[in-house]
Symmetry: D2
Subunit: 263 residues, 4 copies
């Protein structure tokens, strides 16, 4: 049975997809398909009919649904990219994760969901309005207890957070922060950078090399949707062809020796 | 400090990447770069030198590293696909997940890592050798407590597991199991199918429609690596261009009414 | 010097691209950038200024420009696909080519341009309005002498054209025409089919096999544009992700023997 | 009937594809499928049987077949790219085309095939061994009359060829030649550059801007093959993911005025 504060995903077809937070104070929903009343004891998997007799299916929202529908003040990372990042950083229950650039809090929500109650996300943002909005979105998702937000110009002050298991960096000029990220990371731990432009990737590599990081890897992730219809199966005619370059690297502890290897 | 049983990712360049499980009984490692001894108290982020004076970096393995290096008796799902699946199923700490087709246990490990100690993965396999191997891989990853394996021909018997939050189906003829998957899923919950061939997707859609599932979506995920070298930055010359079609749908509870909507 | 009837490509930036046919009767051009007069003796490569002081460059149109800007009553094949088709059919000066489905005449123009004055394109269309429009476009491009149009329901009557060097088939149900195409083709010669949907490709294969064609190959061609800007180089954010499947095959002469080979 | 000197494409399945030049002096062919004798009066479209009773189909080679099978001393441009280039340069019968970097002569053959007997390709190469090989390949294709080769270090001397309709530039450092290419091109005419690396594209843009070229465009062309088998239709598992960036621009005549426009 659906409870106060549950997220509900109402689905009435490709062009009728809505994420709402259920509240008894407003036991109805309206859209272009009409108005629907939420009956007592309605549950996930039920189908409701609008006053125009259109069905709305009451579905459980996925993580993609939650992050796509945060209140946005910035562009957000796409689920196709987030999933890849999470697996290539090895995020798991109990981890402590550094996030540089809270943005709209979309990635913050994903990270907080995965680290669980024993983990923690340290999220840094230097624009106050973004931080407030990210914080609002995280709170709405019921994950405030797993996130500490910091309003800070990190380049000057550093993070003041140490021994993190992984770091997610989504800021326009990450190269100036690589030394701080290195201080915060555990030895051998991975860091991720999102960069829309190739020149950002190139500068990030320079900084990573300078600070002794290894195992650099950069990929793009493309999502191509297939329309499956009887006798008319084909890829969709248009797609998002670029969101950003995803760059990964691992921290190496400082030592006296010169390190060289071939890639 | 690295402890008995820890996974270590040894990195000596693109062509020298090794996942090992550390044991004091075998405090050394050998590869084409030479032999390296593990000194007392060595730690993640350290660099070790082989007897040929080649560096091997001691890195923390990511989830991708762990799943790519399971002992394989079957093809495994790629991390690029797994990440997308996890976010589009909304897998989170505490979830109970149904897995149909244990395969080599790669996806089982990812799921078990994410559901945490309060969750559970119910993994069904009908070939005994696969089940044994998957079980071995899960145990080696230290996740046995979060997975229940079943050796069963599901088509006849069903799963006998109910109210799961999500289902992952990776078998050649999933359409014959859709009714059982429906029984097991919570109302409104999502299911995922991996299908190498488009005809499998088409048949799965037929079965999903027949059983009242909604919000079907099929995508391909492509990973394109970029070589970032000074003055020589470009995409890699070759890539994996197809692993499988990823299909998603949500369960709708049975009712008397006819449900129709436009997609 | 630009002559009466020359095609001119006026370029004033990404959002100001125009193909016109020059005529002394209308020695000016107007668009959102303003009005420009064509001075006597102006030539390709010149820059003209509008009354709003915006430059318009007088460029030579490419084949892509010509085909993208035909008067369209149908979808047209994309230049990315056309170029691939032309090379994989081996179209060359002097060839006689069969076209099934004139559409808007875009491919007709490309073919006519390549076969030269010694070649010929035989273009069949069964909808009169399409044929008229295609014929108009071909005439406007000054290529009428190289194209013979036929208004015909081919399935019943066949083509009545023989020994063609190659065939281009762009109709919704090509499988019913394969036997006629075979009659028209030279031995060993290639044929091409454009199919938006995978089921069309599958049915075409069945028919091709039945009629003894060999060397079947199906590809998709994807064009990804790169934005090259100082410090901001990256792929465009959106792209056309599907236009159609391109299928090729070669005719084998009929014989008594059973032919089998492994692909 | 097949004549002395004809190119024949022998096809015995995906792994048995051969381009040969027929000569009565050697009326047989051998490969892993066995030996086949060419009977008197055999023709395109026939099927021949080897002494191991395997069929070899006698097909007409396409342009792709011809260029893929030149004797190579260099990497060659791919047909997927060549087709796009040809349409975006607007190459047609009668054109005079400048080629900078003959390479192995593959693109030379395509261009010579299209310009016909009234056109001409001017092909420049600075390494003698490449030029000899390219010349051999062009002669073998029967196209020598349409190509003039020049062994020259162009940067110092320029081309000495003027009023060309289009230019194809495939050398590692094209930016140093842009001024010479400009001298050779007709006003408003297009030029194409092939660049494996993004930095080459960036430097080429700088040079193009400096010399007043407009309408710059850069694309990648991806070819994805689909395996069409009954019940097993899917994209091929691996593909070529990068051959090069294709850059296009148009020449503007020099003038006194400053030209600025927004892209």
């Amino acid at each position: 049975m659906i409870k106060e504060g549950d997220f509900i995903f109402l689905y009435g077809g490709k062009k009728a997809q809505f994420l709402i937070k259920y509240s008894k104070e407003k036991p109805y929903f309206e859209c272009h398909l009409g108005k629907v009343e939420f009956p007592d004891g309605f549950d996930f998997g039920d189908v409701l009919y609008t006053n125009k007799n259109k069905p709305l299916f009451v579905l459980r929202p996925t993580t993609s649904d939650l992050v796509f529908r945060v209140k946005r003040l910035t562009t957000i990372m796409y689920p196709k990219d987030m999933g890849y990042v999470v697996l290539n950083l090895g995020i798991k229950s109990g981890d402590r994760v550094l996030e540089v650039g809270s943005g709209s809090g979309a990635m913050t929500i994903v990270l907080a969901g995965l680290v669980g109650d024993n983990g923690m996300v340290y999220s840094f943002e230097r624009r106050e309005e973004f931080l407030k909005n990210a914080s609002y979105n995280v709170k709405r998702a019921g994950l405030s207890g797993r996130v500490k937000f910091f309003l800070r110009d990190v380049e000057k002050e550093g993070f003041g957070v140490f021994d993190v298991d992984a770091a997610v960096v989504d800021v326009p000029e990450p190269w100036s922060l690589v030394r701080h990220v290195k201080e915060s990371l555990k030895g051998g731990a991975p860091v991720f950078f999102l960069s829309p432009n190739i020149e950002q990737v190139q500068k990030t590599y320079e900084s990573l090399k300078e600070h002794g990081f290894v195992r650099m890897k950069t990929v793009e992730i493309l999502e191509r949707e297939i329309k499956v219809r009887e006798g008319k199966t084909r890829p969709m005619e248009r797609m998002i062809s670029h969101t950003g370059y995803l760059t990964f690297a691992h921290k190496v502890n400082d030592g006296k020796e010169e390190k060289t290897y071939e890639d």
